[in-house]
C-alpha cells in the first residue's frame, strides 16, 4: 500500500516537474502540429489524384495523421535516454541509495510526464486539427473505452521496451547508438508512419511477430474503427502478452545489470 503511495507520489512530482517545462511543452506542441500539417498536405495532394489512398479514405487518412501526431509525446515515439544518462553520469547511485525499485520509479516518472504530454500536446493538437480537417472521432463510448485501455497497454509495452533499451548502458558505453537504432525500429514498426495493415502483406506479417505494433498500431486501429467487434479481443490479448513478457524481461535484465553495475564518479 505504502509502495503504491510512493509511486503515485513520484508520478505527481513528475507531473509538477513536466508542467514547469512550459516552453518546451509549447515548442513540442508547435513542432508536432507543424509536421501534422505537412503530413496532411501530402495526403491531401494524393487524394486529389485518387479517392482512396492505401485503402484509406481522405477522412481516415487525416484522422490517422491527427492521432499519430498527438500521441508522439505520450508514447515517446522518438525514445528516451534518461536512465542511461543517469548511468553515465553516475547519478543512478543516488537513486539506488533509496529504497525503491528502479523499474517502477521510472515508470511512474515517465507516466506522469506522459499524462501531461497527452493533455497539452495530445488533446490540444487533436482539437485544433479537427477545426481544420474532418477528423473522425470514435463513434461510441465503448470504442473510446476499449481504445483507451489499448492505449494504456500500448504505453506499458512501450515503456518496458524503452527501459530495456536504456538498460544496455549497464553493459556498453555506446547505449546511445543502440538507442537510436532501436527507436528508429520503434517508429517504423509501430505503425506510426502508417497503419500496419496498409504495408505489403509479408511485411506486416513479419512485424506482427514483434512487440512494436502493440505499442501504437493496435490502439490506433481501434480508435479509427479499423479494428472492431470481436477482432479487438485477440489484439488486446496480444498486447497483454507482450506487456507481461517485456515487463518480466525488463525485471530480469535489471537484476542482472545491477549486480555488475559500476557506479561512476566519486
Amino acid at each position: 500500500m505504502e509502495t503504491m503511495r510512493l509511486y503515485l507520489r513520484v508520478m505527481k512530482l513528475s507531473i509538477l516537474q513536466q508542467v514547469t517545462y512550459r516552453t518546451a511543452l509549447l515548442a513540442g506542441l508547435a513542432t508536432n502540429f507543424f509536421f501534422g500539417l505537412l503530413r496532411a498536405a501530402v495526403l491531401l495532394a494524393l487524394f486529389q489524384v485518387q479517392p482512396v489512398v492505401n485503402g484509406m479514405t481522405q477522412a481516415e487518412g487525416l484522422t490517422f495523421v491527427a492521432f499519430s501526431q498527438a500521441l508522439i509525446a505520450f508514447l515517446f515515439i522518438f525514445g528516451t535516454y534518461d536512465v542511461m544518462n543517469t548511468v553515465y553520469t553516475g547519478s543512478i547511485g543516488a537513486d539506488l541509495a533509496r529504497p525503491m525499485d528502479l523499474f517502477f520509479y521510472w515508470m511512474a516518472r515517465d507516466f506522469g510526464a506522459s499524462l501531461v504530454n497527452l493533455v497539452i500536446r495530445g488533446v490540444v493538437l487533436v482539437a485544433v486539427f479537427s477545426v481544420f480537417y474532418p477528423v473522425v472521432m470514435p463513434a461510441t463510448i465503448g470504442q473510446w473505452g476499449v481504445g483507451l485501455v489499448s492505449l494504456l497497454l500500448g504505453w506499458g509495452v512501450n515503456y518496458a521496451f524503452r527501459f530495456l533499451v536504456n538498460l544496455t548502458a549497464f553493459w556498453t558505453p555506446d547505449a546511445r547508438g543502440i538507442g537510436r537504432a532501436a527507436y528508429t525500429m520503434l517508429m517504423m514498426f509501430s505503425g506510426f508512419l502508417m497503419p500496419m495493415r496498409l504495408y505489403p502483406d509479408w511485411f506486416s506479417r513479419l512485424v506482427a511477430l514483434t512487440p512494436f505494433p502493440s505499442t501504437f498500431n493496435t490502439p490506433m486501429e481501434i480508435f479509427m474503427g479499423l479494428l472492431k467487434g470481436p477482432e479487438v479481443i485477440p489484439a488486446l490479448i496480444t498486447q497483454v502478452g507482450w506487456l507481461v513478457a517485456l515487463w518480466l524481461l525488463a525485471r530480469v535484465v535489471l537484476r542482472r545489470g545491477l549486480s555488475k553495475l559500476v557506479i561512476q564518479g566519486g
Binding site: L13, G93, A94, D101, V262
Partner: protein, 330 residues
C-alpha cells in the same frame, strides 16, 4: 560489544577498457577489447562500533569512494566480507538502504526542477515514516540546518551550501542508524562547513547515529573525528585515534618566547639554535623527546620570560607529510 560495520579483506578490482587510438584502433577495440585492471581496494579490514564517528582519509584515488559505494550497497565487491547492521549491503539492496543515510558531496539527490520540500516529502512514503515522526524530524532539521529560507525554492537555483544542507536533511529524515558521507563539505565556504559539522556532531551525539565520513578537509577531521582511518592505493595504512597519529607523525612543535630583554645567548642544549627577532625567539623541538614543560622550566630558570606560546603544526601538515613521504608504508 558487537560491531555495527565489519569489513574483512575487502577487495574491488575494476576492469577498464583500454581504448586504442585511430580508426584501426576503434575496430580493434570493437572486436578484441583489451582490458586493464585497476585495484581500487586491496584487502581492507576494519570495524566500527555503534555510535562512532570515524574519518576515512586518503589521497585522491585511494579507494575511499569505492569503499563507501560497497558499504552503501551500490557496488558488489570483487572479494571480502562485509556486514553492516547484520546485512550484506548489496544482497537485498532495497531493504538494506532503508536503514542507512547517504550523502555524496558532489552529487545532488533531490529533484532538480522542483522545490526542496517536494523532494523531502517524497521520503515519507518511500521509507514508510510515520506521519508524526516525519513532521517532528522535518521541523527539527529545518531549524538546525536553517532550511526555511529556501525550502520552497527549486533545487536547481540553490547554492552549493544550501543544496548540501537539503541533501543532509534528506539523508536523515527516516532516522537511519548509519550515515555515510562522501566529502560532505566539498566546495563549501567556512560558514557552511561549520554548520554542516555542527549538524553531523549533533546527530552523532544526540541521536547516536554512526557516521563514516570521507573528506579532504582536515578541519572536518579535527572537529569531528576521534578516530581516523588512512587509506592509500587501496590499502589501509592507519586505523586509530587522531591523537595517536599526531603523537607518531607530527613534525616539530614550535615554542615562541618573548624575553624581558635581548639576551646575548638564549640557545638550549640539544635543540637547534632558535630563530631570533629582537627579544623574541622561536624554538623548534620534537615533543616526543622533550616535553614542553621541561623546556619551559629550563628557559624560565635562566631568563626573565614575558610571554610563551606553543604551536603545533596543523594537521594538514602532518597528513601532507604522511602522504608525500609515505611515512605509514615504511
Amino acid at each position: 560489544m558487537t560491531a555495527i560495520i565489519s569489513v574483512r579483506d575487502l577487495r574491488k578490482t575494476f576492469r577498464v577498457l583500454v581504448r586504442r587510438p585511430g580508426l584501426g584502433g576503434s575496430i580493434a577495440n570493437l572486436f578484441a577489447p583489451h582490458y586493464r585492471s585497476v585495484q581500487a581496494v586491496e584487502g581492507v579490514s576494519f570495524s566500527l562500533q555503534a555510535g562512532e564517528l570515524v574519518g576515512y582519509l586518503g589521497p585522491n584515488g585511494a579507494g575511499k569512494s569505492t569503499t563507501i559505494k560497497v558499504l552503501t550497497g551500490l557496488l558488489v565487491p570483487t572479494g571480502g566480507e562485509v556486514r553492516v547492521d547484520g546485512q550484506v549491503p548489496w544482497e537485498k539492496r532495497e531493504r538494506y538502504v532503508k536503514g542507512i543515510g547517504v550523502v555524496f558531496g558532489n552529487r545532488p539527490t533531490l529533484w532538480w526542477d522542483l522545490p526542496v520540500i517536494d523532494s523531502l516529502e517524497l521520503l515519507q512514503p518511500m521509507y514508510d515514516i510515520p506521519a508524526e515522526r516525519f513532521r517532528y524530524n522535518l521541523v527539527e532539521f529545518k531549524r538546525m540546518l536553517e532550511l526555511d529560507e529556501f525550502i520552497n525554492t527549486p533545487v536547481r537555483s540553490l547554492s552549493l551550501g544550501q543544496r548540501m544542507r537539503a541533501d543532509l536533511c534528506a539523508a536523515l529524515l527516516h532516522e537511519p542508524k548509519l550515515l555515510f558521507l562522501d566529502e560532505p563539505t566539498i566546495g563549501l565556504d567556512v560558514v557552511a562547513k561549520e554548520q554542516i559539522r555542527r549538524f553531523v556532531l549533533d546527530i552523532n551525539h544526540r541521536r547516536g547515529v554512526t557516521v563514516l565520513l570521507t573528506t579532504h578537509d582536515l578541519t572536518d577531521v579535527e572537529r569531528l573525528c576521534e578516530r581516523v582511518m588512512i587509506l592509500d592505493h587501496g590499502k589501509l595504512l592507519y586505523d586509530g585515534t587522531l591523537a595517536a597519529l599526531n603523537g607518531r607523525f607530527e613534525s616539530a612543535w614550535t615554542l615562541k618566547v618573548d624575553f624581558e630583554e635581548e639576551y646575548p645567548d638564549v640557545s638550549v642544549a640539544g635543540l637547534p639554535a632558535p630563530q631570533r627577532v629582537g627579544r623574541q625567539a622561536l624554538y623548534l623541538f620534537n615533543h616526543r623527546e622533550l616535553n614542553t614543560a621541561e623546556l619551559v622550566q629550563q628557559l624560565m630558570a635562566r631568563f626573565q620570560v614575558v610571554d610563551l606560546e606553543v604551536r603545533r603544526p596543523p594537521l594538514e601538515e602532518t597528513i601532507r607529510r604522511i602522504y608525500a613521504e609515505q611515512l605509514l608504508t615504511k
